[in-house]
Symmetry: C2
Subunit: 395 residues, 2 copies
């Protein structure tokens, strides 16, 4: 949609003013606010036009105007395409973020959670972040070992060094040779295959060769299938849901309850992740406004999403969820900043930025993987914090 320059400027003024105040904005306000020197009457005429175009609306006859979803959309599109978001304010607020990311977040889970929290605190909106997805991976290594007379431990490593294990109960103790044979059998037959490639025929073949130990083979394959299943499972971390109470238009019982509930059942937010990963927006930033929200029950909100990447095709989604009148400029700035910081942490070149942060104690020999003091805290772990959660079941 093309808009005459003057109308566009008035629209922007209306949106911006409404973002700040949350109150309908009148012609007089605009007339005083903008640099184009026009009287309120002229503005009124223009605003009448804008209303006719469906970009702004008035809550009641004699009130000022507020943007419609379409109005927000135009505003946001313009902002995103004109590329010159004022990052400076965002950057200043995010300075401590680097510290935060450096604190021994030795687990991905904790790191994501604390990123979410930082985002929520620094924006005053609610935030969500999804765990990075991995492509369906191939089996790399299988190891069975006898833990005790009644149990065999199966360890399965898949590409990208994700590991899962499972304890399998057995009736009788297996001999060392049997274990060795089973290990060879499984490794030669299954390594290099993705779980989808494991056919029933293949399993039958293995079982035949395994002789009496079909139960174990079954269990190993089950465990392998489970790895993939649970890797595909989307984990979503959230923070700052209570921020919605800061915005009266979201804080009434009805709406708040729905939003809180969606935040609790995090899978409701999954659709946002899906949408985001599906349609790649410009700069990786996407904005869903009001009815564009993929989550029903959040139709009074907007969400700004970004895609982050931890290398090796592990992509995740970050989202900031707030009222439709959220400060899009700031949020986009914050998201871009955090994306770049996540990138920096992953990239090996991040070493420099890590070292100039060093607090003397870091000089505990250049030995890779060394411990310092009693703390499990190794520099390389920090630089590439690729940690997966895995689960085991035991009987």
């Amino acid at each position: 949609m093309e808009l005459p320059d003057r109308k566009m400027r008035i629209l922007k003024a209306v949106v911006r003013n409404y973002l700040e105040t949350g109150e309908p904005v009148g012609s007089r306000t605009i007339s005083k606010l903008t640099d184009l020197k026009l009287s309120s009457a002229t503005i009124r005429n223009e605003m009448a036009d804008l209303e006719e175009m469906g970009l702004i609306t008035q809550p009641h006859t004699s009130a000022g105007r507020i943007p419609t979803d379409a109005g927000y959309r135009l505003y946001v599109d313009d902002m995103l395409s004109s590329e010159k978001e004022e990052l400076q304010s965002a950057k200043k607020e995010m300075l401590d973020m680097k510290d935060l990311l450096l604190k021994k977040q030795d687990r991905l889970e904790n790191m994501l959670q604390s990123v979410a929290k930082t985002l929520a605190v620094s924006t005053n909106y609610a935030s969500m972040i999804s765990s990075p997805t991995t492509r369906s991976s191939k089996i790399k290594f299988i190891q069975l070992s006898q833990v005790d007379p009644r149990n065999v431990l199966a360890v399965i490593v898949i590409e990208g060094n994700l590991i899962r294990n499972k304890v399998i109960p057995v009736e009788e103790e297996l001999s060392a040779e049997t274990m060795l044979k089973l290990n060879m059998l499984l490794n030669t037959n299954l390594c290099g295959l993705s779980v989808e490639e494991i056919t029933l025929g293949l399993i039958e073949g293995i079982k035949r060769n395994a002789g009496i130990h079909t139960a174990i083979v079954n269990n190993v394959i089950d465990a392998a299938a489970e790895i993939v299943r649970s890797e595909e499972e989307l984990k979503i971390y959230t923070s700052g849901a209570n921020n919605i109470f800061k915005y009266p238009e979201l804080a009434d019982h009805q709406r708040a309850s729905e939003i809180i509930s969606d935040f609790e059942e995090k899978q409701a937010l999954g659709s946002i992740v899906q949408e985001t990963l599906a349609g790649e927006g410009q700069n990786g930033i996407q904005v869903y406004i009001g009815n564009e929200m993929p989550v029903a029950g959040m139709r009074d909100c907007s969400v700004v999403t970004a895609t982050y990447e931890l290398g090796e095709g592990m992509k995740g989604t970050i989202g900031i969820i707030g009222p439709k009148r959220m400060d899009y400029d700031k949020v986009v700035g914050v998201l871009k900043e955090i994306m770049s910081q996540l990138d920096a942490i992953y990239k090996p070149s991040g070493t420099a930025s890590l070292e100039d942060k060093g607090d003397g104690a870091a000089a505990s020999s250049g030995q890779e993987g060394g411990t310092k003091g009693g703390q499990v805290f190794t520099i390389p772990e920090l630089r590439i914090p690729q940690i997966k959660r895995i689960e085991i079941k035991e009987l």
Copy 2:
């Protein structure tokens, strides 16, 4: 505190009526409600006494009475000690719970989450449940294996069959003999020890014997330490936080925001778990009312907690959080019911109750650990769903 019978009955009537309606209750209502035939005037006199004792209060001069914290406390104590909670209503509502627990909750995490949800749905209050704590355990088994030329996989099994693994990067590929030697070294020196028992001297000794592979030894020990650390970490699952909006006294912005925030930062709820595990109440049920709440910011709530046990000393806490005027009778009933169901699931004797639930398809041969259809669903797994989360880090 001993109370004359008549006063006690009036107090109970006030509390019960207020629980239902949420409105201050007047003398006339009581007079009609109770079986003791007294006029409203008499009730008024008694109520004045009760107010003097600090058990009830009136929001303003000419309103009915509502219970104070002390009043609730007396009511709850009486209920808990008189032991005859009407479980029948609870039981009826919980019939489907068994189904829920049976649905392939093959992971503890999922099971806990769904228990929380069921509780929230069936009570209309918010619920929380903590993962069971384990005592610090001994190392049972250690296994190193070469996954690929650059990485060694360390698997550590501790008592109770909790497993953790860690990928350790190495400079050069290790020979099969070296691996074998390291495995023997680690197993002979560390098995049977709890992590606390591993002294620096011991580590030094192992390192000496390990020759050049001190880095690997270090990492294995780190991993072992990490197991214990993360097992100690309290995981709390919540559900139904949005239920608080159903109770106007909690639903105003101020309070709701605080409560929601505490539910989001789940560790705030940790203090409830601590309190509960510390002071063992009668029947394992404990009630914290208003200012007794361990969590600041929930001083307008009450919580009913229970301790559940999954055998082997793995104890966890369940809590139902609602307004002070929550239906204590029902909640206590529901909690008792779920506790007994959790017990039944854990106990081997649970077999019976599982089998009479069988839906025909369960007849896929008595083979232990068998799969049925494409589903990973083994009966023994269900019966003893002792599943731990473990994490690995990779480099």
